[in-house]
């Protein structure tokens, strides 16, 4: 299939345990003809062993032994499919509450979230929790799929009342783009093909929505941020004086001859060349991986950031973040964690837990200061050196951090700069 000009869309699924996420993905893959015959044969065989008539669509996604045995999704799995219009990456994330951290993992880079609601149960706590996380992570597009419409006689009224419920609670959240689709993942209504059972629905099937979402503006193209990953110093003929700064443009656009500032030092210079591999280009934009050379010999190393002279991030050692605690070990007060921010690494301590958020009611709790697995809280961070930061709302790349516990080397928390 030739799709050379096509974009990549990353989406994640959210919803409660039995809302049918795996079935929906299985249906999407199956109806878009992305399932190979040997995979189909293997699943048919396993379905039969489990005593299931026909094909258990959910089995296309659960890959680990324990998942198949228990019939649940434990960890994020990534799935791929391509249509003549787009290439898709699905982060298939678990619905179980104890795996919320994996949902966050899958959602952090998504352009869109597909939130599943069981038509029989309507909006429940899990729906709110996942939608809240999606809004916190600033996922640009939300598609609400009211599933199992076959079990409520394809009722337009039921659908409308769920839309109303969702609108009511989500109006308190920062979500830019929400769409609603009544579906039956099991039977394939409004997933890839338009449903004949719900002629009252005027919108498009889910796949069509995913194919046509406008995603070019999901990346910040205004504020130019270039975190340096590594410095290229080739020891070879013809490149004796070459010093290239290699990295991936986090946001914005860079052009040859533009005046730039190097942070945190504050030195200024001009862009001499921009390279993508061996090819020299006049301009480059996020999310391109490039190598930049400058007119002047400036001391730059990994963790530094090249920005436009007249548009700079904040340099700060103390700032607030919305923190999602991801680890079994709770927050230890006064512990020095390693903070990772773009390609920069420093030490950090949590000076104060300002409030915890009840992800079911969105209420703030200023009394309880203990952070344990899956908690979300606003905290005050202090770092050993100044970081070049933007707010997460403005910039998903330069507004995000993780904390690493040096005693276990594990990632214990993910944060969004307020």
């Amino acid at each position: 299939m030739k799709i050379d000009k096509n974009q990549l869309l990353r989406f994640t699924t959210a919803g409660s345990v039995d809302d049918g996420k795996s079935t929906l993905i299985g249906r999407l893959l199956y109806d878009s003809k992305s399932i190979f015959e040997d995979q189909l044969a293997a699943v048919k065989n396993s379905s039969k062993q489990k005593g299931i008539e026909g094909v258990d669509l959910a089995m296309f996604t659960d890959g680990l032994k324990d998942e198949r045995e228990q019939g649940i999704t434990i960890d994020v799995a990534y799935r791929y499919f391509t249509t003549p219009k787009r290439k898709f990456i699905i982060a298939d994330t678990p619905g179980h509450i104890q795996y919320t951290r994996n949902m966050v993992t899958g959602a952090s880079t998504a352009n869109a979230a597909v939130v599943l609601i069981d038509a029989r149960h309507g909006v429940i706590e899990q729906t709110k929790r996942h939608t809240f996380i999606a809004s916190l992570l600033n996922i640009p597009h939300i598609i609400v799929c009211v599933n199992k419409m076959d079990l409520v006689s394809y009722s337009e009224e039921t659908f409308n009342s769920i839309v109303e419920q969702f609108e009511e609670f989500s109006s308190k959240l920062l979500i830019k783009d929400v769409r609603y689709i009544p579906i039956s993942a099991l039977d394939g209504d409004n997933v890839v093909n338009r449903s004949e059972n719900m002629t009252w629905f005027q919108g498009s099937p889910m796949l069509h929505e995913l194919e046509t979402l406008h995603i070019s503006s999901d990346i910040n193209k205004i504020d130019a941020r270039f975190p340096v990953q590594t410095v290229l110093r080739p020891q070879r003929k013809g490149f004796e004086d070459y010093r290239g700064y290699a990295g991936r443009i986090a946001s914005g656009i860079y052009r040859v001859n533009e005046e730039v500032a190097i942070l945190p030092s504050g030195f200024t210079s001009k862009i001499k060349t921009i390279n993508v591999g061996e090819t020299e280009v006049e301009e480059a934009f996020a999310p391109m991986s490039v190598a930049i050379t400058l007119e002047d010999d400036v001391d730059i190393s990994r963790g530094d950031m090249i920005v436009k002279k007249n548009n700079q991030p904040k340099l700060s050692q103390e700032f607030d973040v919305m923190l999602c605690w991801l680890n079994n070990a709770p927050l230890k007060s006064r512990t020095k964690y390693t903070i990772m921010h773009t390609s920069n690494e420093q030490k950090a301590v949590i000076k104060e837990v300002v409030y915890k958020v009840d992800v079911n009611t969105f209420k703030r709790n200023e009394e309880d200061k203990d952070l344990t697995m899956n908690d979300i809280a606003r905290v005050k961070l202090k770092t050993s050196h100044r970081l070049m930061i933007d707010s997460y709302r403005d910039n998903r790349s330069t507004g995000s951090i993780i904390l690493v516990d040096e005693s276990t080397k594990e990632t214990v928390a993910a944060g969004m700069i307020v």
Binding site: N6, E37, A42, S46, L64, T82, R86, T109, V404
Partner: protein
Amino acid sequence: MSTYYLNYLEELESEAIFILREVWGQFQNPVILFSGGKDSILITHLAKKAFHPAKIPFALMHVDTGHNFPEAIQFRDDLAKQLGVNLIVGSVQESIDKGRVTEEKGKNATRNALQITTLLDSLEEHKVDCAIGGGRRDEEKARAKERFFSHRDEFGQWDPKNQRPELWNLLNGKYFEGEHFRAFPISNWTEMDVWNYLTKEKIEIPSLYLAHQRDVVKRNGSWIPNSEFLKLEPNEEIVSKKIRFRTLGDITITGGIESDADTMEKIVEEVSTMRETERGNRSDDKRSETAMEDRKKDGYF
């Protein structure tokens, strides 16, 4: 370039280059696991782009089972020489000779699982703290669960239930002495993406991927190539067929497919109409439903 967005291949390329540079930024002694197959060739090509005009800063490490396609070995040696990078070869035969592993017996014996010991021994011997691999999440259901930076404990084991969360582009490559990481820069590529990219970039690959007349024998539904390691069963006979290979593993277990695709463009065309996964002809994956997961838990890449 007035619209300022990347197409999917450019975005995958950019992501892979980012990860390769992150490996270099975070680890002391990384290597590229190089088998001579298309995925490791692609990784090596991406590494060339990531560090241009500097040389690829990684050695290539090949775990040699001794049951190779001779052409793949020739290709490996030529590429390492052309790039001017160090080539480390870990030999399964040596591991057998030293008594580190015991050869499987029986009709379907392979050296696939034996690679694990040789790989882990080689990583330890050369003090490698990150092994970059060409694994893709679309290949196999256990691989679909893989992170870009994948932690391995001191026994080389993968624990799928305790993976580090991986958010945004923030990759945590911290480890204790004796542990190591595997990095998978092309996690998000599919077989089709790989072929589209190899074709677009005109990257050279072993001609085993192209259809030629070859001597083969039908076994378990696949065309297994004739080689010095092949022991014919009484009911089997060698025939000549126009064959190409979708994957290159051990010569003893890699089944070819009947095909007329003798150019890259024709391969792209053919792959787009394939109704079977590329590993469908790999007998190592057919051993049980969780064969790959079980191997990976033991240290397989």
